[in-house]
């Protein structure tokens, strides 16, 4: 297994404010990497930098050894890096199936192939009964699933999930965790941003902790959650007491 994504000394300044400051890390092929940290730590900004939504102030991002920073978001998706949005962005007027079809059109042009591919993804994520509903009529849990389904339909090598489980009920979270494990088993590398520690601890093999735009810790979940700096800035003393 090699490195699939390399983030090298990446910084992003909004005006004079460093949102992400000199962050470096690698993502190994087929791993599930968790990105945690308090609100405003720069997790989503880091996602936006990797996916091409922001231009880097410093540093570079490599995907399979190729420079992808400075590419447009759609080109990065074409290369095999898909993402979801923290604030879900369904195509409201389209049905669930059509939403997913838009993703599948990335690789296929024939509409029947695209419909078949979309149906496969829809079944995989258990959205079959909502297939013909307009996306705007979905519940928040289903919208998050749709967000994932659409990204998945582009058949990515790397999937970046930005708080897909936030606001879900515990059983819905469990369903999501199973899906994510299955995706990993099918060979997809996954980066998750999440605040639900139970979810993070159960699926991630490695964690990276951001605080004020800087990487403050990296390692396996046990190491990281026992790290005093992480407890101080993010988890809080109670977490240590619970564990």
């Amino acid at each position: 297994m090699g490195k699939i994504i390399e983030v090298v000394n990446v910084s992003k300044y909004f005006g004079g404010l460093p949102a992400v400051n000199n962050v470096s890390f690698d993502v190994e092929e087929r791993e599930i990497l968790g990105l945690i940290g308090p609100n405003g730590a720069g997790k989503t900004t880091l996602f936006n930098l990797i996916a091409g939504y922001h231009t880097l102030t410093h540093g570079k991002v490599l995907f399979q050894g190729k420079l992808i920073s400075h590419l447009r978001p759609n080109k990065i998706c074409d290369m095999g890096v898909a993402r979801t949005f923290q604030v879900v962005k369904p195509f409201g007027e389209m049905t669930v199936e059509e939403n997913v079809m838009v993703g599948a059109f990335n690789l296929y042009s024939d509409i029947n192939t695209v419909r078949t591919k979309a149906q496969e993804v829809i079944e995989r994520l258990d959205l079959t009964s909502e297939r013909q509903q307009p996306a705007k009529s979905l519940t928040i849990a289903d919208r998050k699933k749709l967000e994932l389904a659409r990204a998945l339909a582009t058949e990515p090598k790397v999937l970046m999930l930005d708080e897909v489980m936030a606001g879900l009920r515990p059983n819905e979270v469990d369903a999501f965790l199973n899906i994510i494990r299955e995706l990993q088993a099918s060979g997809i590398t996954i980066i998750v941003v999440e605040h639900i520690m139970r979810a993070i601890m159960s699926i991630c093999e490695r964690l990276i902790v951001l605080d004020h735009g800087e990487k403050i810790a990296e390692g396996n979940p046990q190491e990281v959650t026992n790290n005093p700096a992480v407890i101080k800035s993010y988890l809080g003393k109670e977490y240590q007491a619970d564990a």
């Binding site: 447009r72 979801t84 962005k89 195509f91 838009v102 042009s109 695209v114």
Partner: protein, 348 residues
């Protein structure tokens, strides 16, 4: 369930289309019986504007990029066919092609800088370009004969795309409308169609799925411009006289937009419905009120528009569509439940 809904709806659509064809056939029949040039002319204008509005709909409705300057492409088509004929002796059939090429080039020049930006830049540019084109047509007198306008040389023949009998133009516009609607249908069922709706709904999400928004918008604008130019050429060959204030007028742009908005933005049949309602309405209120108080016809037209937009903002066609769906749902609720909910029956 979906299957059933679709079938019933498609049947209704067929009834509607059949009704339309009947109306056209009547319009064909009546003038030949009574020599009613007024109605024949109105039907030609309805169908021509339906086609133009459908062309506009490809970029304005499907892609959601509001163009208020489609008269540019219309005028290019009109002037290209006439001027190439007069100045270069090129057959109008080739002139059609020339107009399309010029309109596509113009569309790329407008679209390329604008579509890389978000916000109202495209709309503002189209307004500006529309006006600039009109002034150019007025002032480049060496090329366009200025505001005097140009007449099409009256040599009636098939190769000159010029016909003494007006009903031939009816056939031409029916074919033209057919081609435009067929293309719209194909686009809606293609990658481009899905991409355009995705871009209209959320451009960031579209980009995250690998959609090159600039390219998709440019393509749809080019297609839209090409068809609009063809419409302009047909208009010129039909009216036999063009001048800057008629073919490059903001009024032409306005009509294309309004018909699509009233009929249903981004829908296949909306612009046709819009044209069916608005062209006769326009002529009617112009005939009845235009002479009495200056500008009253415009006021009445505007009031009717405002009423439509206030009551059915999504347009007439989507409203009818939702009625039919309600009827279908009622019909469905009478079916035994297990039959209506069998998932396998949904697969198309």
């Amino acid at each position: 369930m979906k299957q059933l809904m679709k079938n019933t709806f498609n049947n209704w659509a067929k009834v509607l289309i059949a009704g339309l064809l009947l109306a056209v056939a009547l319009a064909l029949g009546i003038p030949s019986l009574m020599g009613n040039q007024f109605i024949l002319n109105m039907v030609i204008m309805i169908l021509l504007f339906a086609a133009l509005s459908s062309s506009w709909n490809i970029i304005g409705g499907m892609a959601g990029q509001l163009s208020l300057g489609h008269s540019s492409f219309f005028g290019i088509g009109a002037y290209a066919v006439v001027l190439m004929n007069i100045k270069l002796g090129v057959s109008p059939w080739l002139g059609l092609v020339g107009g399309v090429v010029l309109a596509v080039i113009a569309s790329l020049i407008i679209g390329f800088p604008c579509f890389r930006l978000r916000g109202p830049f495209f709309t503002l540019s189209t307004v500006a370009v529309g006006e600039v084109m009109r002034y150019m047509a007025i002032n480049l007198t060496g090329l366009t004969y200025g505001s005097v306008g140009v007449s099409v040389p009256m040599e009636f023949s098939f190769s000159n795309l010029l016909f003494r009998e007006k009903w031939v133009y009816l056939i031409i516009v029916v074919i033209f409308l057919g081609i435009v609607l067929f293309s719209v249908d194909r686009i809606k069922k293609s990658k481009l169609g899905y991409y355009l709706v995705a871009i209209r709904e959320d451009q960031d999400a579209a980009a995250s799925l690998g959609i090159d928004a600039t390219k998709a918008k440019l393509t749809s604008l080019a297609i839209s411009a090409a068809f609009t130019s063809l419409g302009g050429s047909i208009y010129a060959q039909y009216l036999l006289y063009i001048d800057p204030s008629s073919v490059f007028s903001a009024d032409i742009s306005r009509q294309m937009v309004v018909m699509a908005v009233v009929g249903g933005l981004g829908t296949k049949w909306g612009p046709l419905l819009g044209a069916l309602l608005l062209v006769p309405l326009d002529q009617f209120i112009r005939a009845f009120f235009g002479g009495k108080v200056h500008g009253l016809n415009l006021i009445i037209y505007a009031v009717i528009l405002i009423l439509v937009i206030l009551t059915i903002p999504q347009g007439i066609w989507p409203t009818i569509e939702s009625w039919f769906k309600k009827i279908d749902r009622k019909a469905l609720s009478k079916l035994p439940k297990n039959q209506a909910q069998k998932p396998g029956s949904e697969v198309r």
